[in-house]
């Protein structure tokens, strides 16, 4: 995901950080001894969602580690993790990407016993179950690619083996965004995306691995296709899905497809599109322009995604220790609170609670009515007093996940079909 607007917000803090880092390094130079981690630089890359300069500033402050961040879009992230192993120390990638990247051997397994808050990590990332009663959704569920057999394991383990591929950092449940003022009636199902009522006013995202899942949610809701596993379709299922969407495209259902966060915001805010696949912060960005926009919960459930931090295979010694220190800090609460106040979820929600006000915790996590104005960490007003988060509480939203973003066995075939769909 690309969140260019985030980068815009924090430009000033970049300048500040730069200044502070210069001053900091100048002052701490004489006392190098005993504080090796102060001089360590870790290079992290990932999507704009969590690669925020605020995190780098805070980690410098708390641990003294210098974090060099590079924010890229989803496809470029995969590309870099797979093809340029020497260009990073820490990869901040999505779980479904791990399936592509792990076989390259560019990442190393992490020892779960070195992770302080391991036991508090949400069940979704450990055994796949949010609560002991939950069932596991289709697609590349994070726990299926979260563990390997041992420190040198090459294949994914089906249990909590103690060796993790990624440390979960951020996740959310995605659905369709709508403009309630332009639609004027309740929207309850994924089928509405292809409803001729919205001809020329619908959009989906042009990132094949995510877009195909949105398509599948729609086709299944329409009753046109029953998938064995939406996250691992057969060739026939892929063909049928694209046939339905190609027909809709030719009939003029879609106004445009979008690839970046900003495009989705502009399509929605300008009224070019009234219903489309969307990401949570994009909804926020539309709302902050005083344009009504709802992240509509749908009866078929959510399409979910999760991101995590992986360690480069070449990390060792002091740098490796610093990376573990960084991971433990990441899960200790500050980052979690920072992310949750933007509408994402943290892997260890209970540690984040200390870094949020009661009002914020109630609104974002518990789905309660806000008692006061809700503002983003960047200072934008997101909701007034007396409002409830779209979709409700953490357990309501993450409990209604129908599928996870995924990479399927027929991925290459799907990608070719996707190209045909775009060109059709």
């Amino acid at each position: 995901m690309t969140t260019i607007s985030k980068i815009r917000y924090s430009r000033r803090s970049v300048l500040k950080t730069g200044g502070a880092a210069l001053v900091g390094s100048a002052l701490s130079a004489p006392m190098v001894w005993g504080q090796e981690s102060k001089n360590i630089t870790l290079r992290q890359f990932g999507t704009g969602v969590s690669n925020l300069n605020e995190v780098a500033t805070k980690v410098k402050e708390d641990l003294g580690i210098t974090l060099e961040m590079t924010a890229l879009d989803t496809d470029s992230v995969t590309q870099r993790a797979a093809t340029q192993p020497d260009s990073f120390d820490i990869a901040d990638i999505e779980y479904f990407v791990a399936k592509k990247v792990w076989p390259t051997g560019n990442l190393q397994a992490m020892d779960a016993s070195k992770i302080d808050n391991y036991d508090k990590i949400v069940g979704i990332f450990r055994n796949g179950k949010l609560t002991p009663e939950s069932s596991i959704a289709q697609g590349t569920a994070p726990h299926t690619v979260g563990f390997v057999d041992g420190p040198d394991g090459t294949s994914f383990a089906d249990h909590e083996s103690g060796w993790m591929t990624l440390i979960p950092t951020i996740y959310n449940a995605d659905t369709l965004g709508i403009r309630p003022d332009l639609i004027g009636r309740p929207i309850e199902s994924w089928t509405e995306l292809l409803n001729p009522e919205f001809k020329g006013k619908a959009s989906i995202l042009d990132i094949s691995s995510i877009g195909i899942m949105d398509m599948a949610m729609v086709c299944e809701a329409m009753g046109e296709i029953t998938y064995g596993d939406k996250g691992n379709m057969t060739k026939e299922e892929i063909d049928k899905t694209f046939a339905i969407f190609t027909e809709a495209k030719k009939a003029g259902q879609f106004r445009a497809f979008w690839k970046t966060f900003d495009e989705s915001v502009n399509l929605m805010a300008s009224g070019e599109v009234v219903i489309q696949s969307m990401w949570s912060p994009a909804i926020t960005a539309v709302r902050s322009r005083d344009i009504p926009c709802v992240y509509q919960p749908l009866k078929e459930g959510y399409r979910s995604w999760g991101g995590g931090i992986g360690l480069s295979a070449s990390l060792s010694g002091m740098e490796l220790d610093a990376a573990y220190e960084y991971i433990n800090w990441y899960l200790s609460g500050w980052v979690g609170g920072f992310l949750m106040r933007q509408g994402y979820y943290s892997a260890v929600p209970e540690t984040s609670k200390d870094f949020m006000s009661e009002n914020e915790w109630g609104y974002w996590f518990e789905g309660k009515e806000s008692t006061d104005v809700i503002t983003s960490p960047f200072g934008d007003k997101l909701a007034g007093a007396g409002e409830v988060r779209d979709g409700g509480s953490f357990y309501d939203r993450m409990g209604a996940v129908a599928c996870w973003n995924s990479v399927m066995e027929e991925n290459q075939y799907m990608v070719r079909k996707w190209n045909e769909f775009i060109a059709a």
């Binding site: 797979a82 879609f254 070019e272 190209n419 060109a423």
Partner: protein, 282 residues
């Protein structure tokens, strides 16, 4: 003998630069186009899979047709506009000072990035954009025109906007080199303005037109970003096919498409050069 060696040495730097930065990359692309790819890696091989898939898919033909269509329409429009502008500058504006001033004004849009110039069309052409609201307030239309944005129309509009200057410059250059006495002679011989244009000016502008044509067709055929933004990702040309493949780590398949595109462009340029011998004309 020494003369020959000196000549070789004199030609060597340019030859080496071209070899390293033009020939070598193209050779690499051709080689990789025969390789195979998995999800996350590419492996050396000599197989025709990529080409087989490319020529076996009906989408390839549609996309190449689209690319040629964009190139042809954009060429016709930029030529029409570019020739008119150049003609005005060269023959209607008399003083050299004004010619230079007006020519510089033509280049003003180039002071910003072409992405900005392209994207600024989007709010203008949108459903609730300036164009539609103006037309509605004038009573010309009742409902917003949907085809203004995210359509072939908007793609070609952006191309014409971006590339017309590439036509103006070489044509203007050719026109400035036309000997004024030739036009006077035509007039004295009793030719009408139209006859002068057709039989004197246009033939003498051929090299300029040809250089402009080569610029515009190669730029349009190699483009992917204009098509993506202005069509809202709804249309595809060959450039987009390649960029999609690259973003999905399918380098061999992207290389194969690039090779076919390169050959197509070379054929087009070859045909153009048969029409006009630029070297002789210059």
């Amino acid at each position: 003998m020494t003369k020959q060696i000196t000549a070789w040495i004199q030609a060597a730097p340019m030859a080496l630069v071209l070899l390293a930065f033009l020939v070598a990359p193209i050779v690499m692309i051709v080689i990789v186009s025969f390789w195979g790819a998995t999800e996350y890696s590419i492996y050396p091989a000599f197989q025709f899979d990529n080409y087989q898939f490319l020529f076996g898919s009906p989408v390839t033909y549609t996309v190449f047709f689209n690319t040629l269509k964009y190139a042809l329409i954009t060429w016709a429009l930029t030529l029409g506009i570019g020739f008119t502008v150049a003609y005005f500058l060269a023959f209607e504006v008399r003083s050299l000072k004004w010619q230079i001033a007006l020519f510089l004004i033509c280049t003003i849009p180039f002071w910003t990035s072409n992405i900005i110039r392209m994207i600024s069309w989007i709010p203008f052409l949108g459903r609730n954009g300036l164009a539609n609201s103006t037309l509605i307030s004038w009573g010309v239309i009742d409902a917003p025109l949907e085809w203004l944005l995210f359509s072939d129309f908007s793609v070609i509009l952006a191309f014409v906007h971006l590339y017309t200057l590439f036509m103006v410059v070489p044509i203007f250059n050719s026109m400035m080199r036309i000997d004024g006495s030739l036009i006077e002679a035509a007039k004295d011989g009793g030719a009408t303005a139209w006859q002068t244009l057709c039989h004197v000016i246009i033939p003498l502008c051929k090299p300029g037109i040809m250089i402009g044509t080569i610029f515009v067709t190669t730029l349009v055929m190699g483009d992917f970003i204009t098509v993506r933004f202005m069509s809202g990702s709804q249309r595809a040309n060959v450039g987009r096919l390649i960029s999609n493949d690259i973003s999905l780590l399918q380098y061999p398949s992207a290389s194969a498409t690039a090779v076919v595109l390169l050959v197509t462009v070379l054929i087009v340029i070859g045909l153009l050069l048969r029409l006009v011998d630029i070297r002789k004309e210059l």
